[in-house]
Amino acid sequence: MLLLKSIVLQWLYVGLMAPFLCGVIIKTKALVVGRVGPPLFQPFYDLLKLTRKQNVYSQTTTFIFRCAPVVVLSSLLILSLFIPLISQPAPIRFAGDILMFVYLLGIGRFFLIASSFDTGFSFAGMGASREAFFSCFTEVAFFMNLIILALLAQSISLSQMIGASTPLSWPLFGPALILVVSSLFLILLAENGRIPVDDPATHLELTMIHEVMILDYSGRDLAAMLYGAMLKFLIFAGILVPLLVPVRLGQAFPDLLVFTAGLIAIAVLVGIIESIMARLRLNRVRHLLLAAFALAFFGFIVTLWSRL
């Protein structure tokens, strides 16, 4: 019963926070260039509008196309339970849950890619191949960071790795954690198709990655896909914030406030980066991701060194 309660609370928080963060990014981008921008809750209205519309399916698509939104959204919803957001240990936690975490991400990505091939739309195939290519790099870098965090926390459970002991490891392992945080931030930008990697605001077919894969979706399915993308941003930011803000007050509510402030700060930072940077040329994106890996590897060496 307690577990059920914490799961429901977590989903409530995540479900409301994910579109809100998206709204924060859009608002920041608008404010930086001097526009008023849509209201902060615009993503909610957009999602509601989409759920009221009917799904339109192309005749070439098969059942893969129809089940992909369900798989993507549900895998991300399960993922969100692994992150210690509301309750300090996450609702779902066990030794080795980081592997489960990464592979659940993989399942969502697999179905996203498969569904975009299913449409037979050549641009979607291009986007899918890019997604697969870049995720090869991000997964390696992500695993490297997880290894560092596991070494620091002496645990292979995500709730421990980014949980209550992080404030203690900052004074000891600060240098390694700086590298982990910067590497994870690059991974966050890449995984969510944010600006140095992909521009979420454009629908220019030759350059987009994530947007082109969901181009054939409409109605409720599109809402599920968009909601999944927002959740993914929240999940990655949710890994980054506990590392970046090493403050644990010990009580649930103040901690949650600090955490929410951290999430909003990350969203604002991403919005600012999107306003001041241009997208990288496509063949240079892998350099960014390799840099993320090199940073993580460097962090790994520093961790080993400081444990000598």
């Binding site: 600060g174 700086i178 240079r284 390799l290 840099a291 590897f297 460097f298 520093v302 060194w305």
Partner: protein
């Protein structure tokens, strides 16, 4: 407390060396180098825990001014006066050089672990990070084809050596330090002039080639 700052700045030096390796614009490389020199120049402050003699303070000031203001400005002057392309041209791709540099960092730490050096080091990350910076600078020097980026590689290497010297000597011999700084300054100056002269000497060459090809076409 100070150890944290020293460690953080050592990490930052290698981090910036990595980003210099990953950057594909000359101007970006020079900006990053200036930032790296600033960090390296600040390390003595942390090593002495802000209780500096006048000599130390002078060294810090001269290092920072010469390395992160004068030298980058000379390099900027050089790329302004040489109509070369703004992008670097590595012999091995940026992705590959990033992977190799990750390996080089590992090598630096491995060497530092087995190196028994006299003298007191206040932080255990100074030695490996300085070796890593030297190796990364050397990597930059070897794998880049354009003269300016090679100069930046040389300077990154010099920053590594500076950090290495800091880890070895408690009291920095001011004369040696000034000598090194002067050497570097003169070297950069000469290289800038050489780059300029190379450009003047060979500026007509590609144009003639272009003309002859145009003649063939018409």
């Amino acid at each position: 407390m100070m150890t944290t700052w020293i460690n953080a700045s050592c990490i930052l030096v290698v981090f910036l060396a990595l980003s210099i390796l990953a950057s594909y614009r000359m101007a970006g490389m020079i900006h990053l180098f200036a930032a790296q020199s600033l960090v390296v120049g600040l390390v003595p402050l942390f090593l002495r825990q802000f209780s500096l003699s006048q000599n130390d303070l002078m060294i810090v000031a001269i290092t920072i001014v010469s390395k992160s203001f004068i030298t980058p400005n000379i390099l900027f002057w050089a790329i302004r006066h040489v109509p070369t392309r703004a992008e670097v041209k590595p012999l091995i791709g940026i992705g590959a050089s990033l992977l190799v540099s990750a390996l080089l960092i590992a090598v630096a730490f491995w060497v530092a672990a087995s190196l028994q050096l006299p003298g007191l080091s206040k932080s255990n990350l100074v030695l490996p990070c300085s070796l890593a910076a030297v190796l990364l600078g050397f990597m930059l020097l070897v794998t880049r084809t354009r003269a300016i980026s090679q100069v930046v590689g040389y300077l990154v290497m010099e920053n590594g050596i500076f950090l290495f010297a800091l880890s070895l000597f408690d009291a920095m011999p001011i004369l040696i330090e000034m000598g090194i700084l002067l050497d570097v300054f003169v070297a950069v100056f000469i290289m800038a002039i050489v780059v300029n002269h190379i450009n003047e000497e060979f500026s007509r060459q590609p144009m003639t080639l272009v003309r002859s090809k145009m003649g063939e076409n018409t």
